[in-house]
């Protein structure tokens, strides 16, 4: 049962074959069985999840009108506030903090009766590509426990691949939904910036952060997308427009007549041969399904990574200033006679990990008087150029595509001491965040050389998110008929797995 897609589970719930309590319990059992190996979860809310499940079952019994995913369990990235449930962002500095309020995403999940199982592991404050930066220890990739599950949302992606949850929420600042999806053989979508409310998403880089759905199928992602998206007056950057018709697009999966642009700059040197091979195959499948494949160029993407590592740290240096031990979270050095300043300093010294400190220092420097124009100012100009590159490309093509990541999952510890090598992992995902457009990653198979999953990225213009789902669903269907079964059916079975 736990290996079903969320939509299959939803049908079984609707037909009464299974109750939400049974379904939720099955997932809690799987978590209990495998999470010691995977470490996808930081907090499991057994009681809350079962109570929520029982409530949905009651509503169903009473004949209430329910949303499509009502009663289906979900794993929530620990960067989203949920009232009364610990929210750490993978950081020591928030250890023990229980938010007094629900993020809008959580409020929407509850409104849709989606059962929240618990909070998933992540790189501290979403800074990283491997989940190794979590203060609570790394998450392991269910495909190979010695490898990283991607990051920052490695916990959410690993939970899906380990059948601990059929749905998950991620957040994506530079690829934190899509890259984990790619390396775990799951589906992850970063909606258009402003498509999903950021209220209650603990900010890393406000102008880049975006929450989105993680799932095992394109349709499941679409159903979750519709459940969490929409205008929110509490987030002034939220777009006041109807949610794109992503479920309809995912159900149709039609690419006939669509122009698909291959981004020249996001392929080639630096991309693993197995990654490139799966990418080429996917293009052939899409062409066979009726799409026209064209090549587009985005010359300024070359500067995206450099600009990203100025903008994101700059914003983070300011966003993370609030963690000062005054009102919540960790407090260190609060001894008789200590000044507020020394408590702040000691708390931040102890409470933040190395990568977070590195980025705070980078950002503080980039915003400093005398350096602002050269760093932050130039980076903003690059951002405009990247947006222009996308605009031009979208004049030629309806969607753009690329491999999601240059490589498959690397070994835990392999790049831990080389931040630049780590940053390069996001080279293909970052331009999407810089331009505020939508991006999706779905599995395109495993690389021949290592047998590990490869991700296929689809990018669509602002608020044209449905196009990603059309293309994604079409490719997913073609691959499924080629393979005969979903990619995840070939994942090694974890010890003790249900």
């Amino acid at each position: 049962m736990i290996r079903n897609s969320a939509s299959e589970m939803a049908s079984k719930l609707a037909s009464g074959d299974v109750t939400s309590v049974q379904l939720t319990q099955a997932h809690l059992d799987q978590i209990a069985a495998v999470d010691k190996q995977v470490h996808a979860f930081l907090h499991i809310d057994t009681e809350g999840a079962l109570a929520q499940a029982a409530a949905v079952d009651l509503k169903r019994k009473n004949g209430d009108k329910l949303s499509p995913l009502a009663g289906v369990p979900l794993a929530l990235k620990d960067v989203m506030t949920q009232k009364g449930i610990p929210t750490t962002c993978g950081s020591k500095i928030l250890e023990g903090w229980r938010p007094p309020y629900d993020s809008t995403v959580v409020a929407n999940l509850k409104k849709n009766d989606i059962v929240i199982l618990g909070k998933t592991n992540m790189d501290e404050f979403a800074m990283g590509s491997s989940t190794e930066n979590s203060a609570y220890g790394p998450t392991h990739n269910p495909w190979d426990l010695s490898r990283i599950p991607g990051g920052s949302g490695g916990g959410s992606a690993a939970a899906l691949a380990a059948f601990e949850a059929p749905l998950a929420i991620g957040t994506d600042t530079g690829g934190s939904i899509r890259q984990p999806a790619a390396v775990t053989g799951t589906v992850g979508v970063k909606p258009t910036y402003g498509g999903v409310s950021r209220f209650g998403l603990v900010a890393f880089s406000s102008s880049l952060d975006q929450a989105g759905p993680c799932a095992r199928t394109v349709l499941d992602a679409a159903l979750l997308h519709e459940a969490i998206a929409g205008h929110d007056p509490k987030d002034s950057t939220s777009i006041n427009a109807p949610v794109p018709a992503v479920v309809a697009a995912a159900k149709a999966g039609n690419v006939k007549g669509m122009k698909i642009g291959v981004v020249k700059e996001l392929n080639g040197d630096g991309y693993q041969p197995g990654v490139r091979k799966r990418f080429e195959e996917s293009l052939e499948l899409l062409a066979a399904a009726g799409a026209e494949i064209v090549e587009v160029s985005a010359p300024n993407f070359e500067y995206a990574l450099a600009a990203y590592y100025l903008i994101a740290p700059s914003e983070c240096s300011s966003n993370l200033a609030r963690f000062d031990a005054m009102r919540y979270g960790l407090r260190v050095g609060d001894v008789e006679g200590a000044s507020a300043e020394s408590v702040m300093n000691l708390t931040r010294e102890v409470g933040f990990g190395r990568e977070v400190k590195r980025r705070i220092i980078l950002g503080t420097y980039a915003l400093s008087s005398g350096y602002y124009d050269a760093y932050y100012g130039s980076a903003q100009k690059v951002r405009t150029l990247i947006t222009q590159d996308f605009n031009k490309a979208f004049e030629i093509a309806d969607v753009l595509v690329s491999p999601t990541c240059p490589t498959t999952a690397f070994k835990i510890g392999e790049k831990a001491d080389d931040p630049l090598a780590m940053y390069l992992n996001d080279i293909a995902t970052i331009p999407v965040n810089m331009a505020g457009i939508g991006g999706m990653s779905l599995p395109s198979g495993v690389a021949d050389e290592d047998g590990l999953p490869v991700g296929f990225q689809i990018m669509a213009p602002v608020m044209k998110d449905e196009r990603m789902y059309s293309v994604g669903a079409s490719l997913e269907a073609s691959l499924l008929s080629k393979w005969g079964a979903p990619l995840l059916s070939t994942i090694p079975v974890l010890a003790g797995s249900k």
Partner: protein, 502 residues
Amino acid sequence: MSLTYDDVVAKYEPVLGLEVHVELNTNSKMFCGCSTIFGAEPNTQTCPVCLALPGALPTVNEKAIESTIKIGLALNCSIAPFSRFARKNYFYPDMPKNFQISQYDEPICVNGYVDVEIETDEGPKTFRIEVERVHMEEDTGKSLHVGGATGRIHGAEYSLLDYNRAGIPLVEIVTKIVPGTGKYAPEVARAYVAELRDILRSLGVSDVKMEQGSLRCDANVSLRLIGAEVLGTRSETKNVNSLRSVERAIRGEMIRHAELLNNGQRVIQETRHFQEDTGLTRSGRSKEQAEDYRYFPEPDLVPVAPDAAWIEQLRAALPERPSIHRKRLQEQWSVPDKEMSAMINADVLDVVEATVALGADPAKARGWWLGEISRIANEKDSAIKDLAINASDVAEIVALVNSGELTDKLARQVVEGVIAGEGKPAQVIASRGIKVVSDDSALMAAIENACAAQPETAQKVRDGHIPAAGALIGAVMKETKGQADAARVRELLLGHLGQSSN
């Protein structure tokens, strides 16, 4: 070797720069829905947004934008079609986010001016104060440092934080440099702040209570030798919490700077704190190791792009400018310049206007507020507006005098009673038993008694020596304990003694 003020202005020209912070009187805070009521229990008017809980986001208070645009228009500013919020980053425990949302290089209002008129040796003169910008920001919380000698953080045993004020909408009005005011600099500054306060009050956008901090002035002062072009080093004086303090602080800083310069020392660019008791300033933090605020555009808020038609609507609805309003009142009431200035200086113009609006004669209304009521305020060392008497009380008292139910003397007792908290005029009259003796037979008895007691004086009056009547009237008033109408007593007395009362 203390310099006099005259010595200072004989040698140096002061250059001013004034930054006024105004707390808007919106019902909710700048970026969240919390209440803004002053004086609530600490930390009861807070929410995830203004406490900067992780994940919380600001949203802009539309009313605050409207108020700021109104202020900009009233100060003759251009309203920017596109402006942006920015983050000003610095750590301080009473600032929950450790950055303040403010505006930096793209403020909402720019390039305005305010004309102020002051009395000079050559008569009234108008000075134009140019306004560089008007921008929006949020207030910080309040720190209460306990155990230190001066209420400062240094030496305090512990500090208490109240975040009720955190996020209250603030508007900052910044002037360009103000040269050319010479020896009148302190008065021009005071007049400017007073004019701003009047404008803000007329717009209804702020309580403008300097003593509660809803209007705060930071005064930048520098001196240069008369005729010099290069500006001197400035100091910025904070905590100036009354109009009088604005004047005193600037005067004091001018003398302090001049003494330093005359001694060959340099003025340090720094923040100074005004001390109400001494009228002097003390050094705050030095701005020479200026904090780097690392301003950058606030990514959580979209730019402010007010609709041009809306701006015109707000412009059309602006109230009469206070200076013009004053001129109109002066004409309507036929008040001499001096009296007008007296009312403005005593800050009673609006209450006089309100009293007149309730039917009192302008001269009488003015007389009460500037006279008896001012006197009592002085005695109590209190602001006139803080006394427990209002325009309707005074209007009622004036009406009672007009109808002869009170004499001026009795009316003063009523005023005193109202101010003493004994209630409304009618209650004071009743409880104190104040009553004009208007019963002629009672008065006649008193007159006869007086004449009988002073037969020689009565005879003088009968003989046509009218001024002698004063002594008899005095005796009657004494007998009636001052409750008689003196004019009526005189009339009856003269009739009784065979003289016409005219």
